[in-house]
């Protein structure tokens, strides 16, 4: 139904603008339906203006800027209609230390309304977890789970 889609679009766009502003520390981003009259005839476009910069085409954004944009979109949908589980594998691969912390804080906050399972190599992200699962193999290729500890002094390779 067209009206259902427009309702979803407006709510998520609203969330997306606020969440991106927070995650990027002042930047602007919004979603545009290419054909608002007949949304199913067109796509959904993202416009991004990182803090202090002009509007950028998506392909010109840096790796970290693209990641923040994509993550803001995911959190915007979650805020409208949460799934019970989010499984995020190394979504901080391009993020610098500052942005990894912002992400870690936001996941922690959003984890009150959904379960987040996040694979990461970065202390900056991991330190906001409620619970850490460590994985290792003893040089024989067999995975072992250990130390279900609360974050404290976790080194970058989880040991």
């Amino acid at each position: 139904k067209k009206y259902a889609l427009l309702k979803v679009y407006r709510a998520i766009n609203d969330n997306f603008r606020k969440i991106y502003k927070e995650m990027s520390n002042g930047g602007d981003a919004y979603l545009i339906l290419e054909d608002e009259e007949n949304p199913f005839n067109g796509g959904l476009v993202i416009k991004v203006k990182p803090p202090g910069k002009g509007i950028k085409p998506l392909h010109a954004l840096s790796g970290g800027e693209k990641s923040l944009t994509a993550l803001a979109f995911i959190f915007a949908i979650q805020q409208y209609d949460p799934s019970p589980i989010y499984l995020l594998d190394e979504v901080d691969m391009f993020l610098d230390g500052v942005n990894s912390e912002i992400l870690g804080r936001i996941i922690r906050r959003n984890a009150s309304s959904a379960q987040f399972i996040v694979m990461s190599l970065r202390k900056a992200t991991i330190k906001f977890a409620d619970y850490i699962i460590g994985v290792a193999n003893r040089g024989d290729g067999i995975s072992r789970i250990y130390a279900h500890h609360v974050p404290e002094g976790v080194s970058e390779n989880g040991q």
Binding site: I74, A129, G134
Partner: protein, 170 residues
């Protein structure tokens, strides 16, 4: 609803029986390269995404069975169970705990296998399994599952694909 635990048996780098407990909230999984972090994600997707094998880095499902390592013999089956707390009945099953299991066993044919699904240890048909997952919004091709390397996919997909995500939600 939340995932309480995963039980893995001979799944990829997880040999014999392993149980991993989870809590609500924000769980981080860390460890060295190649230790098995993404394999845990693959185990979850193995159960939640019964229709697509590409989603779990396997060209054929038998690739998921523990391969025996350097000198050992490959296992001939693997099984993964996801154990959910269902007190809020998000899953349309009348029990506080729901156990979803997928089991594959090699056959005598080269790369052949049989695949079985169980809901609370009772045999289930694929379509019942799939509709259960879709009902609870935990099917593997959702926007809420981001595989390693895919974080920027939302930005790189076409506008029509992206609008498709909104279609799914409405």
């Amino acid at each position: 609803m939340y995932l309480k635990a995963i039980e893995l048996e001979n799944f990829k780098s997880f040999v014999h029986k392993n149980r991993i407990d989870f809590k609500q909230g924000f769980t981080a999984i860390s460890g060295p390269n190649g230790s098995g972090k993404s394999n845990i994600g693959d185990a979850i997707l193995f159960v939640l995404g019964p229709k697509s094998s590409k989603v779990i880095r396997a060209s054929k499902l038998v690739d998921l069975i523990y391969d025996g390592g350097k000198k050992g013999k490959p296992a001939d089956y693997c099984r993964v169970s996801l154990i959910f707390d269902n007190s809020d009945r998000v899953l349309p099953v009348d029990s506080n705990e729901v156990r979803l299991t997928r089991y594959i066993k090699r056959t005598n044919k080269e790369q052949g296998y049989n695949s079985y699904f169980y809901i609370n240890d009772e045999s289930a048909r694929l379509q019942d399994f799939v509709s259960l997952l879709e009902h609870a919004k935990i099917s593997a091709d959702g926007y809420n599952f981001v595989k390693q390397g895919d974080v920027t996919r939302i930005v790189e997909m076409t506008p029509v694909e992206r609008r498709g995500i909104l279609d799914e939600i409405s």
